[in-house]
């Protein structure tokens, strides 16, 4: 691939897009206008909101005016100023009395004779009249709340005071309480009700304080102590916490939408305009064309995100400044401020890989589409897939750990969040997995896009009528010797889905014993893995033996080499697993399950049976599925290492626990390589079985050695730092394993048609150096 051509194509596409005035307007000018417009509207809205008033009708205040020992509640049609936390509300709440509503005044005054709670609940006509009048006022919006002090309220207060001052026991009879009527369906009414409640509570505290002082009891009798929380987070941290949740999400959304429309235009649009065929007859490689277009889409993605971010930032700064000046939101406005500069810097850095990922994804979908119309429809599925991934980190409890860092977009968002919050140590730990996954997804998407540029049915817009029946018949009748790439991918999906449903329907056992473990394993291996792959092999391939790699008899040298390889790999794998556990510890739940599995195995009737269950059964089922059907299908991609990698990842996904997944993927690479080079499934099964058995037995043997220090294995496994797992042994074993694998390197193995074509092209199709 020549960078010169990529650059040529990139520059041409950029110039082409920039000459399209409408696109430029949508991408560049619109955000610059949109956010200030939104900001101004928002600002005006807040100004409008500030004018909201709250009107409260108060019934029965006359009795309160009589008692002069009571702290003041109402003065001049407003609640007393001292009762408010936020002084600005003092003016906003306006008080009315029944006199102000002459038509309903009679009914309203009846509120004073509301019955005492706990007394006989007979609905009197008076009550009904009062309720109707109050409801009418509330519904019509003339008042936001109604506060009623029934008759006898002041009497009760005085009783309590007297009892306290004269140290007499008061009668614990039911007594009238103030009632607040409001309309919860109306926001204003709800807010008013809350305010009035707050005010009355304050007033109640003042009455209590008054009473206690009058009876020579210290006020602290009711509140012996106060609790004062003190926030240790610095202002920056608090601000960062707010922005770290919101910013990555928005920036990624802009990056996605900024990538989508150019991608559709560059691929599907070019097909429609007829210029694609012209480009395809030039010496530019398909890969160069894809990369040139990818860089164009990435540029648009990054620029869109930055322009939107900048415009929103400017507007935000303006709005926040003005809000805090006008004191509209009070404390809230102080807590909000512009995100710190370092966050913005990190955001820009993270923008590159994320827009690469989104651009590759959009380009792949756009290349697959046959027309711009079809291409536009793909935005919805892309959003449906990426939005949950972006929103997942916003839920509480989702944090940056090993499991989450392997999820494509989510890991990136979490990483970015940690960076914005300044947790650099944490970030360093997880940068590698997140970047690796992002890069892998990018490359996969790019490879898919390249493939689309080669597929004729997509290039030349041939339409098909979808007829399911015919298509299914065609699949079986016209099946090939080995499965296609798509069929292999489908098999992986079916295995994962079956596993999911089986795990849902499996209940928790009463006893986690060997019988239960055996049943669980049999079901998960046979039903979830063996059955789907075997069924698909029989139905969709013409040569099942070739697909499952059962055709060739394995060489004895290979089989022996596999046993040696398994032995050599054991210390390496254990050492590797230990290293990984050191950096990313195993969660406790997983350890507990591992322990229960261990003890279940102890209860096996015979240890060979346990080994057969945990080693032989999975080996056979998984190898036939993953190195048989699935690898044979993936090999039609044209590069054996891509096929091996994909089958290894699929193999890893099928395992339950995270650390198992990682070691399974790496093991899958080795076994896949062996499957390709030896062209037989038997070495794979052998390697898998021996490897699993060693893993299982090592623990047992170590325990046996501890119990019996004289045993012959003591020198390998005994002591604090067993010989088997020391660094020197590990290195030697690694070298041995590498040597065994290298010896397979030169073996002649058969290639698929696609691999042969690729190799022929690599050999003879070198880039030209001038016409």
């Amino acid at each position: 691939m020549q960078l010169k051509n990529v650059k040529l194509i990139y520059l041409r596409e950029m110039r082409d897009q920039l000459r399209d005035r409408r696109t430029l307007f949508l991408i560049a000018v619109l955000p610059l206008l949109l956010y200030p417009l939104l900001g101004t509207s928002f600002f005006q809205l807040t100004q409008f909101l500030q004018k909201v008033e709250a009107r409260v009708l108060v019934v029965g205040t006359r009795q309160l005016r009589g008692a002069d020992w009571l702290p003041p509640l109402i003065q001049d049609n407003r609640f007393d100023l001292k009762l408010f936390d936020q002084p600005e509300w003092h003016e906003k709440i306006e008080l009315f009395s029944p006199r102000d509503f002459p038509e309903l005044a009679d009914d309203l005054r009846k509120g004073r004779s509301l019955p005492v709670p706990g007394a006989a609940p007979e609905a009197s006509a008076d009550e009904a009249a009062f309720d109707a009048a109050a409801k009418e006022l509330l519904d019509s919006g003339k008042v936001e709340a109604v506060l009623v002090f029934p008759n006898g309220f002041e009497e009760r207060l005085s009783d309590v005071r007297r009892a306290l001052v004269e140290r007499e026991a008061a009668d614990a009879t039911a007594f009238p309480e103030p009632i607040i009527l409001y309309n919860s369906a109306d926001d204003k009414s709800q807010v008013t009700q809350l305010r009035v409640e707050q005010i009355l509570r304050r007033w109640r505290n003042e009455v209590t304080a008054e009473n206690l002082t009058a009876s020579n009891v210290p006020v602290e009798a009711t509140t012996p102590f106060e609790l004062r929380p003190r926030d240790m987070a610095q202002m920056q941290q608090r601000q960062a916490a707010v922005w770290s949740k919101v910013l990555p999400f928005f920036v990624f959304i802009w990056a996605l939408t900024g990538a989508f429309y150019p991608a559709v235009d560059l691929c599907a649009g070019e097909k429609e305009r007829g210029t694609l065929e012209t480009l395809l007859t030039s010496p530019a490689l398909r890969r160069e064309i894809v990369w040139g277009k990818l860089l164009t889409v990435m540029t648009f993605s990054v620029v869109t995100a930055i322009l939107n971010l900048g415009s929103l930032g400017m507007t935000g700064k303006f709005v926040i400044d003005n809000l805090s000046k006008s004191g509209a939101f009070g404390q809230a406005a102080e807590a909000m401020s512009m995100p710190p500069l370092t966050s913005l810097l990190w955001l820009s850095v993270a923008l590159v890989p994320i827009s690469a990922l989104f651009s590759a994804l959009c380009l792949a979908c756009a290349a697959f589409a046959r027309s711009t119309k079809e291409g536009q429809y793909y935005l919805m599925p892309i959003m449906l897939v990426t939005m949950p991934l972006m929103m997942l980190p916003m839920s509480p409890g989702v944090e940056l750990n090993l499991g989450n860092s392997f999820i494509p977009v989510t890991g990136m968002v979490l990483l970015l969040r940690s960076v914005i919050e300044g947790q650099y140590a944490l970030v360093l730990k997880f940068v590698a997995p997140v970047m690796a996954v992002t890069l892998a997804c990018c490359l996969l998407a790019i490879r898919w896009a390249e493939e689309q540029f080669n597929r004729e049915s997509v290039l030349f817009r041939e339409s098909e009528r979808l007829e399911l029946g015919r298509w299914l018949v065609h699949l079986v009748r016209d099946r090939q010797a080995t499965p296609s790439f798509a069929q292999a991918a489908l098999c992986v999906a079916i295995i994962l889905i079956t596993q999911f449903f089986v795990s849902l329907s499996a209940g928790m056992a009463g006893d986690f014993d060997f019988a239960f473990l055996a049943k669980a394993l049999l079901v998960s291996q046979l039903a979830c893995i063996f059955a789907p792959s075997m069924l698909m092999t029989i139905m969709l391939t013409r040569e099942p033996a070739k697909t499952l790699l059962l055709e060739r008899t394995p060489r004895w040298s290979h089989l022996l080499a596999m046993v040696a390889l398994a032995l050599a790999l054991h210390p390496v794998v254990v050492a590797g697993a230990n290293q990984i556990t050191k950096i990313y510890p195993v969660p406790e739940a997983t350890e507990q399950i591992a322990e229960s599995i261990g003890s279940a195995l102890d209860g096996a009737p015979h240890w060979l049976l346990a080994l057969a269950l945990m080693s032989l059964l999975p080996a056979v089922c998984e190898e036939l599925a993953f190195r048989g059907f699935i690898l044979s299908g993936f090999r039609h991609v044209g590069h054996k290492w891509w096929a091996i990698a994909l089958s290894a990842v699929a193999f890893g996904l099928v395992h339950t626990f995270l650390h198992q997944k990682i070691s399974a993927t790496m093991m899958g690479m080795v076994i896949g390589y062996i499957a390709v080079q030896t062209e037989s499934i038997w070495p794979c099964i052998l390697l898998h079985t021996v490897h699993n058995s060693l893993q299982l037995s090592a623990h047992k043997l170590a325990q046996a050695v501890e119990a019996n220090p004289e045993s012959p294995l003591a020198f390998l496994l005994g002591g604090e730092a067993p010989l088997l797992y020391r660094t020197s042994t590990v290195l030697i074993c690694a070298a041995v394993a590498a040597a065994i694998l290298w010896s397979l390197h030169g073996v002649r193995y058969s290639r698929t048609a696609e691999e042969q074509l690729e190799e022929a092209r690599q050999r003879s199709d070198s880039p030209l150096l001038g016409a």
Partner: protein
């Protein structure tokens, strides 16, 4: 120069079953001649030419162009051919000069030499007025000139024209044919597909007649006329087609 060996192309179609677009097509063309590929619509001409230009992959057989195999050495092949069809459009938002320059650079011509070559081409094809005209604003004739310039900017030894006169009026079509004749006289190997017999008679020395993906007849026009005792190429063409259709019908009922 161009050698097609047993080219086959089979499409899987749900309705028609496996559809054979090309069935073992073999022919060859030399330098300094225009080789005509004649046939009705749907004969497989476009498929064959797309295979020659490496845009499609054959399902069987191969083709050698200037010593390079279209299947295993596609980018080498593309460096040595110029392809023009009714489907190869010009970019809406590029000027004529920019478009030809873009492809010139993709063909790897250095800047100075490219500029000289383009000046020469623009003069010869009388494109100086449309030099700075955007593609969207060009007439059909202008677009066609740009396409020709684009196809020959790198002076390829092999040229492929796929129904290039489709949709062109008589004047413009005639000027295209003159340009092709000129290129032939320069020693290029040209393969020219059409379904208009007059063009073939004017331009081609040797032709191949294709129907339903199979080669019905091949050779110099004069020889074909003698062999089938038909002076008019169009009548000759009809005879061959009819005979083939009868044969196919007989085969279908028998088989």
């Amino acid at each position: 120069m161009i050698e097609a060996r047993n080219l086959s192309k089979v499409y899987a179609d749900l309705h028609r079953g496996p559809f054979v677009a090309l069935d073992g097509l073999s022919f060859s063309a030399k330098a300094g001649e225009v080789y005509g590929l004649l046939g009705p619509n749907g004969a497989g001409k476009t498929t064959a030419l797309r295979i020659l230009s490496t845009v499609l992959q054959p399902t069987g057989g191969t083709a050698i162009i200037n010593g390079f195999d279209v299947v295993t050495q596609p980018s080498q092949v593309r460096a040595h051919i110029g392809f023009m069809s009714a489907n190869t459009a010009v970019y809406d938002r590029m000027t004529a000069w920019e478009m030809v320059e873009y492809f010139g650079k993709l063909y790897g011509i250095e800047d100075e030499r490219l500029r000289e070559r383009m000046e020469l081409l623009f003069d010869r094809l009388q494109m100086q007025e449309i030099r700075d005209l955007l593609g969207a604003k060009m007439s059909t004739g202008m677009k066609q000139k740009v396409s020709i310039a684009r196809a020959i900017v790198h002076d390829p030894p092999v040229l492929i024209f796929d129904e290039a006169t489709n949709g062109l009026d008589v004047l413009v079509a005639r000027s295209l044919l003159e340009a092709v004749a000129e290129l032939r006289d320069q020693g290029k190997c040209i393969i020219f597909s059409t379904h208009i017999m007059r063009e073939a008679e004017r331009l081609c020395h040797r032709v191949a007649i294709v129907h339903h993906g199979r080669l019905l007849a091949e050779g110099e026009i004069s020889e074909l006329r003698e062999k089938h005792s038909q002076h008019d190429l169009e009548d000759l063409f009809f005879d061959l087609i009819r005979a083939n259709e009868q044969r196919l019908a007989a085969g279908a009922t028998a088989g």
